[in-house]
């Protein structure tokens, strides 16, 4: 019970403290309106080239929209502790580092889910996509799993931030890599084999596949394998994040570089 409290309440408190740069205007502009324009950009490009239909772009970009909050959020969850000089205090805590930091990912995943749902709704209304009502619970599950998986990916990047001075380079490049490798905007069949293969080890790829299956009205049964793969990818990144945090924390203590910026 105490561990669960640390994971949820601790995560929410850290979110409120570290996400302090945001204001309602900035939140809406950056996280809700920006991804919607990204969706429209690729939907119109896709229409012009007739590579895929609107559903492909609307659903794919809605799932990808979560990555903005999750990747940057996960990175900030660790990086901003160091930036604000509170990392040492967190690491002095006698509680489990894994629980502390994994709890950080949860609010960002919730944020990502909100953004994905808003982007999907906005895109569907603007471009006239009809989603079968029966597909909505499954879609919500696919979007939630994608967001959580992406938040774990962000946390792993944040752990790398314990060693690098400029974590924003890592997060910006990672968001660009997700855009290209996840097959959200280019069908996987049109990507080179190695790129499609790399994409299968990234978050979003399988969640987008599941969401497309569901939006096409094929039922939750057809989407479950892809959702399962997304859960596996997310779990792998959670384990990687925990391992990296442990290793880099020990290394930072040894080299006395914990708070070095």
């Amino acid at each position: 019970m105490s561990g669960l409290r640390l994971l949820t309440v601790g995560g929410v408190i850290a979110y409120r403290a570290l996400f302090n740069w945001t204001t309602p205007g900035m939140f809406v502009g950056t996280l809700l309106v920006g991804p919607l324009f990204q969706l429209l950009f690729f939907a119109y490009l896709g229409r012009q080239l007739q590579v895929a239909d609107d559903r492909f772009y609307i659903v794919g970009n809605a799932v990808l929209a979560a990555s903005l909050a999750c990747v940057f959020g996960g990175t900030m969850a660790v990086g901003n502790e160091r930036r604000y000089g509170t990392l040492g205090h967190v690491l002095l805590s006698p509680r489990s580092r894994t629980a502390i930091f994994l709890g950080r990912a949860v609010p960002y995943a919730g944020n990502g889910l909100l953004i994905a749902v808003t982007t999907l709704t906005g895109g569907a209304l603007l471009l006239g996509l009809r989603v079968p009502p029966g597909a909505l619970p499954g879609l919500a599950l696919a979007l939630a799993v994608g967001s959580l998986s992406c938040a774990c990916f962000g946390l792993a990047l944040g752990a790398v931030g314990l060693r690098l001075r400029d974590i924003w380079v890592v997060s910006n490049v990672s968001v660009a890599v997700l855009l290209l490798f996840t097959g959200v905007n280019v069908p996987a069949a049109a990507l080179p084999g190695w790129m499609a293969a790399a994409g299968r080890f990234l978050p979003i790829t399988h969640a987008a596949e599941a969401a497309r299956v569901l939006a096409a009205g094929r039922g939750i049964g057809a989407a479950l394998p892809a959702i399962g793969r997304e859960v596996a990818v997310g779990a792998a990144y959670a384990v990687l994040a925990a391992a990296l945090l442990t290793v880099f924390e020990a290394e930072s203590r040894r080299r006395a570089s914990l708070d070095t910026l």
Partner: protein, 251 residues
């Protein structure tokens, strides 16, 4: 003064790993996406257009984020009071910064062209190579002048960062950098016509694939100069207001 200032700020920006990563990686990713989309859409003959368009997208990103945050960045660095104390008009002090952000964006065009040539074998067969060499720098500098207006406008807005984050894709979209504006809803036409980015993208596309380059380039430069004049007035107003209320250094 403008040339030396622009060079100084360009050097400063080129020391930032984040600026370099954004200027190089993001346009290359966009260019790669465009290459695979065009190939799978059977439009393989437009790959050079896509490389140039993706490069222009990088220039716009650099101007939008660099110029939009030009004054704010000076505040954070603690150098805003110093540059405002200079015995020059505020616009003359700030235009080198916005030009430097546009010059940094030049990396993006060079990177996407080099990327396309080396990795995808895109032949750099420009319809008007001389015009391209003249028009590209002129358009980039015009976008830098547009950046002055952005800098002056954004400093008045409390949530300017949010506006910058929101404006990247819409301007890419309505300017026809990758998506032809003919496929967009009709109401976007007047909006596109008022943006220098539209005419810059069009001039470079015409220099690449053929067409009347100079009218589009002239419109881009004309709008850029108009933005510079408007930006200069706005900056003078902002500076006076900030001095009167003693809020120049307040973030």
């Amino acid at each position: 003064m403008i040339a030396v200032g622009a060079l100084l700020h360009a050097k400063h920006l080129s020391r930032s790993p984040l600026e370099i990563a954004i200027s190089l990686v993001v346009p290359v990713v966009q260019a790669t996406l465009a290459v695979y989309l065009l190939r799978s859409g059977g439009a393989g003959d437009r790959l050079l257009d896509a490389a140039v368009g993706a490069g222009m997208m990088g220039v716009w990103s650099s101007v939008l984020f660099g110029s939009g945050a030009a004054i704010q960045n000076q505040r954070w660095q603690g150098t805003l009071e110093m540059i405002m104390l200079a015995p020059r008009r505020p616009a003359l002090v700030l235009v080198p910064i916005t030009l430097a952000t546009a010059l940094t964006g030049t990396y993006a065009i060079l990177a996407t062209l080099l990327w396309g040539r080396l990795l995808y074998g895109i032949r750099l067969d420009f319809a008007h190579p001389v015009a391209f060499a003249v028009v590209a720098p002129a358009c980039i500098l015009s976008l830098g002048l547009f950046g002055l207006l952005l800098a002056a406008t954004f400093v008045l807005l409390r949530n300017a960062n949010a506006l910058a984050n929101t404006l990247e894709y819409p301007v890419w979209l309505v300017s026809g950098m990758l998506v032809p504006i003919t496929v967009l809803p009709g109401w976007t036409g007047p909006l596109a016509a008022a943006l220098p980015t539209t005419w810059a993208a069009r001039a470079l596309r015409e220099a690449t694939g053929g067409g009347p380059v100079w009218p589009s380039a002239a419109l881009c430069v004309g709008i850029g100069l108009t933005c510079a004049v408007l930006g200069a007035f706005a900056l003078t107003y902002v500076e006076r207001r900030a001095r009167a209320s003693a809020t120049l250094a307040l973030a």
